[in-house]
C-alpha cells in the first residue's frame, strides 16, 4: 500500500491548469460548471457510440478521460446507458450494419438530447464516405448538433466540441 501512496504522491496532480486566456474552450472551470448547470440543471452525462469507426477516435475519447484533462472535475462523465445520457458522442462513418443500433440508442436518450459527431468520418469530411457498407456522416442518420473534424481529433478538440454543443443549447 505504501508503494501505491508513494507513487500517487510522486506523480502528483497531472491535471493541467484550465484557463488559457485566448482559449475560448476553458475560460475557467467554474464558469464551465455553471454553464452546464444552467443548461442542463446538472452535470453532463455522455454516452459514446462507435458506429463504424477505425477505433482511432475511440483512443482519443479514452485519452480525454486521463488525468490531464480532469473531465470529471468539469462535471462531465461517461455513462453506461443511453437512458442516463444527455449527450450522444458518435464516431465513424455510420456503417449500414450499425445504423439500426445507432438509431435505437438515440431513441433511448431522453429529451432534450444533444448529438456530437466525432472525427472526419463522422463529420463527413474524411477518407471514408458513403458506399455500399456505410451511410456516410452521422448526420445522415441522426440530427447532429456539433461535428468535430480531425483524424482523429485530439482530446481537447473533442472537449471543445462537447462544450460547444452545450453552449449552443443554452443559447
Amino acid at each position: 500500500m505504501w508503494k501505491i501512496l508513494h507513487q500517487v504522491a510522486r506523480a502528483g496532480i497531472a491535471s493541467e491548469p484550465p484557463p488559457e486566456p485566448d482559449d475560448a474552450l476553458r475560460t475557467s472551470a467554474e464558469a464551465l460548471r455553471g454553464e452546464l448547470l444552467a443548461t442542463l440543471g446538472r452535470a453532463l452525462a455522455i454516452r459514446h457510440v462507435d458506429a463504424g469507426s477505425c477505433n482511432a477516435c475511440e483512443l482519443e475519447i479514452h485519452a480525454l478521460e486521463n488525468p490531464y484533462y480532469n473531465l470529471e472535475g468539469l462535471g462531465i462523465r461517461f455513462v453506461a446507458s443511453p437512458r442516463h445520457a444527455d449527450l450522444l458522442l458518435v464516431t465513424g462513418p455510420v456503417s449500414r450494419n450499425m445504423a439500426l443500433a445507432l438509431r435505437r440508442t438515440w431513441e433511448a436518450v431522453p429529451d432534450p438530447k444533444l448529438v456530437v459527431a466525432i472525427g472526419d468520418c463522422g463529420s463527413g469530411c474524411g477518407l471514408l464516405g458513403e458506399n455500399y457498407a456505410t451511410c456516410g456522416p452521422v448526420a445522415s442518420v441522426l440530427p447532429v448538433d456539433v461535428a468535430v473534424p480531425g483524424c482523429p481529433p485530439p482530446p481537447l478538440e473533442i472537449l471543445r466540441g462537447i462544450l460547444t454543443a452545450v453552449r449552443q443549447r443554452k443559447g
Binding site: K3, I4, Q7, V8, A11, A14, H48, V49, D50, A51, G52, S53, C54, N55, A56, C57, E58, L59, E60, I61, H62, A63, E65, N66, P67, Y68, F78, A80, S81, P82, G92, P93, S95, R96, N97, M98, A99, L100, A101, L102, T105, L127, L128, N131, Y132, A133, T134, C151, P152, P154
Partner: protein
Amino acid sequence: MRRLGVDFLALGGALPAWHAAVGAAHWHDAARHAHASGVRLVSLWGTDRRAAGGTLVVSAAYALPEGIAWLDLPLRDESAGYPDLAGLYPAAIRLQRATADLLGIAPAGATDTRPWLDHGAWTERHPLRIDPAPNPEPASRDYPFVRVEGDGVHEIAVGPVHAGTIEPGHFRFSVVGEKVLRLEERLGYAHKGMEQRLARCAPLEGHRLAGRISGDSTVAYAWAYAMALEAATGCAVPPRAAHLRALLLERERVANHLGDLGALGNDGAFAFGLAQFSRLREDWLRLSRAAFGHRLLMDTVVPGGVAVDVDDATAPRLLAQCDAIEIEVRRLRAIYDEHAGLQDRFAGTGRVSAELAAQLGLVGLAARASGRPGDLRCDQPWAPYDRLAVRQAAHSAGDVAARVAVRFDELMESLRLIRALLGDLPEGGSRVTVVVRPSPGFGTGRAEGWRGEVFVALELGADGRIVRCHVHDPSWHDWPVVEHAVIGNIVPDFPLINKSFNLSYSGHDL
C-alpha cells in the same frame, strides 16, 4: 522453389514470398502438407479477375519458415465451390464465410454457411465482384445463434452498443448462474467496405486507407501496405527509412501497451493503474505529436519511405522519454505484481492452454502468452530488425496475468529497440519515389504490429491500378479463441478477459 508439393515463383520485396496457382486437388494437398508440418495459415481471401479475362479466384497465404507462400486456386466453375480448409485450420471458417459474403464463392460442403460480415443491410451483394448486384431490400437480418439448452441455462445478449468506449460487436453468452457455458460472437458491425475502397484508390494513395483499417495499428498497416506496393513495383527503400519505420512501429507498440496495462488494471478494479498508465500514455502521445506531427502517427509511413524524420534536437527528447517511462513502468510493474487483489483477478482467468492455442491457431501477443512463440521481428527479421536481435516475450500460463506480463516485457524491449534505432540511424534520404508502371504485379507486406502480424496481399493490373488489395488483421485468428477462453469463467470476468486480448473489431470487420 518447391514447397508443400507445389512449384512456386519468387516475388520480390523486403520479406521473402512465393506465389503459385494450383488446381483443387493441390489446394487441399498443400493445406494438408502445411498443417502436418506445423505451418500457420496467415489468411484466406478471394479475388475477381474476370475483368482481365481470368476467373474468380480463392487465395491462401501460409507462413513457411522461409517466407510467405501465396496460393491461388482459380475457380472454373464457381458454383462447384472449392475444398474446405476448416477441418485443418479452424480460423479458415470465418475467413471462408467472409469470402462468401464479399465474392459469392464458398467452400464445398461447409457446415457453417451463415453470412458473417454481410448482415443484410448492404446496398450491394458480393461487393468485391466486378459486377456487384444491387441489394433490393437492404435491412439488418436476425442471426441464428447456436442455442444451449438445459436446466437453468439462460442467455445474456451484449452489444453491438457496449457500456463503455468500445468498438461495436455482439456477444451472446449462455450461462448457468454466473458461469459461462458458451460464448458466441457476432462481428461485422464496423464493416466499411475497406477492401472495395482500396481497389478503387490510386496505388500511391492506398497507405492512407490502410492506415485507417485499425487506428491503433496505423503504422503496422501503412508499413505492410507500403511494403507490398514496393514489392509489386520493385522499389527498394533507403536504410534510413527502414530504421525510421521501425522506430515508429515500436512507438506504436509502447503507446498501445501503456494504454492496455492501465485499462487492465481498471478492469481488475484497480483504478490507480488506469490513472497512472493513461498519464504515461498521454506523455507518449504528446511527444509523438511534437516529433512526428501526429499523436497516433497516422500517415507517417508512405510508399517509398517515411514522411517524417528525426533531427538532432528531437533524438535526445525521444531518448530521455524512454528513460523516464522505463523508470515509471518498473515502479508500476512492482505495484501490479504485489497487489493481491489484482493478481487474484489476473491469475488463472481466461486461460488458453498451449494445446488449445496450437489447435485454434492463436497468433501474436496472445500466443506468446500461451507458450506459442512467433514474432515476425525474430522469426523473419527484415531490415532493420535483422540487426537488432529482438528478444521475444515468452510466457506459458495463457491467462490474463500472462498477457499482462507479455505486455510489460514487450514494452521494455521496445524501449531498448527505440534506443538502439536512434543510436544507429543511417545517414541519407528517408524517402524515394515509387514508380507504378502499367504492368501487372504481385506483392506482399507483413509487419509485426503490437497485436500480431498484419498481412497485405496486393495485386496490380496491366493498367497499373489495384485489382485487389487484401488486408488481414491478426484478430481474425484470435477472436474465435476468445470464445474458448471465457468458458467456465464468470460473466463479470469477461470484460477483463476481452481486454487482455484487446482484439480489433474494425481491423477484423474491414
